[in-house]
C-alpha cells in the first residue's frame, strides 16, 4: 500500500477554535479551557485508504494538519508555515463577526504562498451561534469570494467537523485518486 502525506493548514484569528477542531478530528476530544497556541503544532491523521482507479493500487493518505497560531503579522517564517500546503481550512468564529474579515487577509497571504492549494471556509462554534443572518451571509460571501464552500462546525459537539476535513480531502483528491 502506497502512503501519501498531505500538508493542510488551519488558518484563522486567535480563539476561533483551530486547535479544538484538530483535537476533535484527530483525537475525538474537546476541552472547554482556552489555551492559546504558540508557533505551530503538526498532528497526523490517516484517512480511509482508497483504490487508485487507474492502477488499482491502494493508497493511504495521511493528513499532516498544521495548527498555526492566530497570526497578527506576516513574515518569511509565516510564509514557511504556509509553503507546501495542499489545502487549508479558513476558520472563523460564528460568534465574533470580526474574525470573518480576518480570513480574507489570511487567505490572500496563503494563496500567494500556496497558489494550488484548495480551501474550505469554516464557521465554528455552531453550538453557541444564535441565528443571525448577517454573520452567516458574510461568511457565505467569503466562501463565494474564495470560490469554495462553507461548512458550519462545532468542535464542542463534533457537528460538521469530520465533514469539513473529509470535504477538504475530497477537494484535494485524497478520496478519489
Amino acid at each position: 500500500m502506497a502512503t501519501v502525506k498531505k500538508k493542510i493548514c488551519l488558518i484563522g484569528s486567535f480563539a476561533v477554535g483551530k486547535t479544538s477542531l484538530i483535537e476533535r478530528f484527530v483525537y475525538d476530544r474537546f476541552d472547554e479551557k482556552y489555551l492559546t497556541t504558540i508557533g505551530v503544532k503538526v498532528s497526523q491523521k490517516a484517512l480511509p485508504p482508497v483504490k487508485n482507479p487507474r492502477g488499482g493500487q491502494i493508497i493511504q493518505h495521511t493528513f499532516l494538519i498544521w495548527d498555526i497560531a492566530g497570526l497578527e503579522k506576516f513574515d518569511s517564517v509565516v510564509a514557511n508555515y504556509f509553503r507546501g500546503a495542499a489545502g487549508a481550512l479558513l476558520v472563523a468564529d460564528l460568534t465574533r463577526p470580526e474574525t470573518i474579515d480576518h480570513i480574507s487577509r489570511l487567505y490572500d497571504r496563503f494563496s500567494v504562498i500556496s497558489p494550488d492549494a484548495v480551501v474550505i471556509v469554516l464557521g465554528n462554534k455552531l453550538d453557541l451561534y444564535k441565528e443571525e443572518n448577517q454573520t452567516l451571509s458574510a461568511l457565505k460571501a467569503k466562501a463565494v469570494e474564495f470560490k469554495t464552500e462553507l461548512t458550519l462546525t462545532s468542535a464542542k459537539t463534533g457537528e460538521g467537523v469530520e465533514q469539513a476535513f473529509l470535504g477538504l480531502s475530497e477537494k484535494i483528491g485524497c478520496l478519489n485518486e
Partner: protein, 456 residues
C-alpha cells in the same frame, strides 16, 4: 562544517543534522540526539522528513537551499510536546552546508521562550475576549471560583443559571471569608455587559445617616453640608448590580427605606420629591443567619423575604476537602509574583496541615497565613513549620469544638437547644436520623426533645 562553527553551535546549545540531496540524514551531532531523546525519539540515519514532518511540502525548497539558490528555511516555535504536561518547542533552521550537495538543519530548544510568549499572548487574548465575548467571560469567571468539590460545582452551576436572569435579587450567605464577595462579582460580570456598573457598599462600615445619603443620593441644600447634588449608589448602579455587603448590619430604619425602594422600584434623593426609577440587580451578602435575626427582631421579615428570592450559601473551607490545596496553590502563585519569589509548592507535612486545620476564617485566614509564610520563605517548598496557624487542628477534617460564651444579658438554655435542633433538622432535610447524628444524640433522644419542644 568548520571547527569554529561547530564550537559556536555547541556553545549556543544548538543541535545539528546534516542531510544530502535525497534528504537522507548523513550525520547528527550529540546535542541533536539529546533533543530528540527529550521528546521520546531517537535520531538516526534515515529520511529527514520521517524525523521532521514539519518539512513535508518543502522538499523542493530544501533542495534549492542545498544548491544555494535559496538562503535559508526557518520554522519558529515548532511544538513537539509528547503530552500536555511536558511542552517542548524547537526552532528549526535549514542552511546550505559547507559539504557539497548537503544541507544543515540547526535545531534549538526554545521551550522557555515559547512558554513566555505563550503566556503573554494568553493574557492579551483573554483580555480581548473577556471584553468582547460574553460566553468567554462567563466561562472565565466561572473558573475564578476555584475548586473541584461538589459544593463548588453547585455554586458554579447556580451562578451560571442566575446569569441568565440579570434582574433577579440574590442573597449570598456564608461565613466570613468564604468568598461571598467573589461570588457577587462573578455573578455580576457573568450576567451583565462588560461595561455595566458593579457598585458595592459595606453596610457595616457606614453610620446610619451616611448609608442613606450614599444609597439614595441627595439634592443641593438637602442638609447642612449638601453644597452640591450627588447621585446615590442606587443611581450609580443603574443597568448593573448593587452589592449590599453585610446587609445584616443595616439599621432597621434603613431596612424599611431600602425595602420601599425595592418594592416600588423607585426612590427619591434626599431633599427631592422627584421619583427615580431603579433598574438594577440587588446582590446582598451576610455572614449572619438572617432567619434568626428576623426572629430576634433585628432584621425586617419583609426585607428578608424580598432579598431571599434566590439564596446561595458559600460553603466554609473546612467542608471543601482537597479544594483547600487547590486554593493554596493558587495563592502561592500570586504571592510568588507579589514577593518575586520562586516557591514551587508545599511539603507533604504542610499539605497535611493545610488539609487538617479547620480554617475558621476561611480563605481570608488561609491567604493571610500563606502571605506571612511567603514573606519569610527561603526554600523551594513551604514546610509545615513555616505555616503559623492560630487555632487547634481539626480531627479528620471536622471543625474543632466551638467555644460557647454566654452573652452578658444571659440566655434561655432551652431556647438555644430548640434553635440547634431546628438547625439540625434543616441541615438534614428533616431526616431525623441524620439530625440526631449532627447533634450527637440517639434517634430516641432526639424524638423525646422534639416532643418536648413541640417540634415533631
Amino acid at each position: 562544517m568548520s571547527d569554529a562553527l561547530k564550537q559556536l553551535l555547541t556553545y549556543k546549545n544548538l543541535g545539528t543534522v546534516l542531510f544530502n540531496e535525497q534528504l537522507q540524514i548523513t550525520e547528527a551531532d550529540e546535542l541533536a540526539n539529546e533533543l530528540f531523546v527529550s521528546i521520546g525519539q531517537r535520531l538516526h540515519k534515515g529520511h529527514l522528513l520521517d524525523f521532521f514532518p514539519e518539512l513535508i511540502g518543502n522538499e523542493e525548497f530544501l533542495k534549492q537551499i542545498i544548491h544555494q539558490k535559496k538562503n535559508d528555511f526557518r520554522l519558529d516555535f515548532v511544538n513537539r510536546a509528547v503530552d500536555d504536561e511536558r511542552p517542548i518547542f524547537f526552532n528549526l533552521l535549514v542552511l546550505p552546508a559547507t559539504l557539497k550537495n548537503h544541507g544543515l538543519l540547526i535545531l534549538e530548544n526554545v521551550t522557555d521562550q515559547a512558554l513566555a510568549a505563550q503566556q503573554m499572548n494568553q493574557h492579551r487574548y483573554e483580555l480581548h475576549l473577556y471584553k468582547r465575548d460574553p460566553e468567554f467571560r462567563k466561562q472565565f469567571l466561572s473558573e475564578s471560583i476555584l475548586g473541584r468539590s461538589e459544593a463548588i460545582e453547585r455554586i458554579r452551576e447556580t451562578i451560571q443559571k442566575l446569569s441568565k436572569f440579570p434582574s433577579a435579587t440574590v442573597l449570598l450567605m456564608g461565613e466570613t471569608g468564604s468568598g461571598k464577595n467573589l461570588a457577587a462579582r462573578v455573578l455580576h460580570y457573568s450576567s451583565m455587559p462588560a461595561d455595566a456598573p458593579f457598585v458595592e457598599i459595606n453596610c457595616a462600615a457606614l453610620p446610619e445617616h451616611l448609608i442613606e445619603s450614599e444609597l439614595f443620593g441627595y439634592e443641593k441644600g438637602a442638609f447642612t453640608h449638601a453644597v452640591a447634588s450627588k447621585r446615590g449608589l442606587l443611581e450609580e448602579a443603574r443597568g448593573g448590580s448593587l452589592f449590599l455587603d453585610e446587609i445584616g448590619e443595616m439599621p432597621l430604619n434603613m431596612q424599611a427605606k431600602l425595602l420601599n425602594a425595592l418594592e416600588t422600584k423607585q426612590f427619591r434623593r434626599l431633599g427631592s420629591t422627584k421619583p427615580i426609577e431603579t433598574d438594577l440587580r440587588i446582590i446582598a451578602a451576610t455572614n449572619r443567619h438572617l432567619q434568626i435575626e428576623v426572629e430576634a427582631n433585628r432584621f425586617r421579615e419583609d426585607l428578608f423575604y424580598r432579598l431571599n428570592v434566590v439564596s446561595i450559601t458559600m460553603p466554609p473551607l473546612r467542608e471543601l476537602g482537597t479544594d483547600v490545596l487547590i486554593i493554596s496553590e493558587y495563592l502561592l502563585k500570586l504571592f510568588n509574583i507579589e514577593f518575586k519569589k520562586e516557591v514551587k509548592g508545599f511539603t507533604e507535612d504542610a499539605r497535611q496541615l493545610i488539609l487538617n486545620y479547620s480554617w475558621p476564617g476561611n480563605v481570608r485566614e488561609l491567604s493571610n497565613c500563606l502571605e506571612r509564610a511567603m514573606i519569610f520563605a527561603e526554600h523551594e517548598t513551604l514546610d509545615a513549620t513555616e505555616l503559623v496557624i492560630s487555632g487547634p487542628l481539626a480531627q479528620h477534617g471536622k471543625p474543632p469544638a466551638q467555644q460557647w460564651v454566654v452573652p452578658t444579658g444571659g440566655l434561655v438554655l432551652e431556647e438555644v437547644e430548640r434553635q440547634l435542633i431546628l438547625s439540625a433538622l434543616k441541615q438534614s432535610g428533616h431526616n431525623k436520623s441524620k439530625a440526631a447524628r449532627l447533634l450527637g444524640l440517639t434517634r430516641d433522644t432526639l424524638r423525646y426533645r422534639l416532643d418536648k419542644y413541640q417540634l415533631s
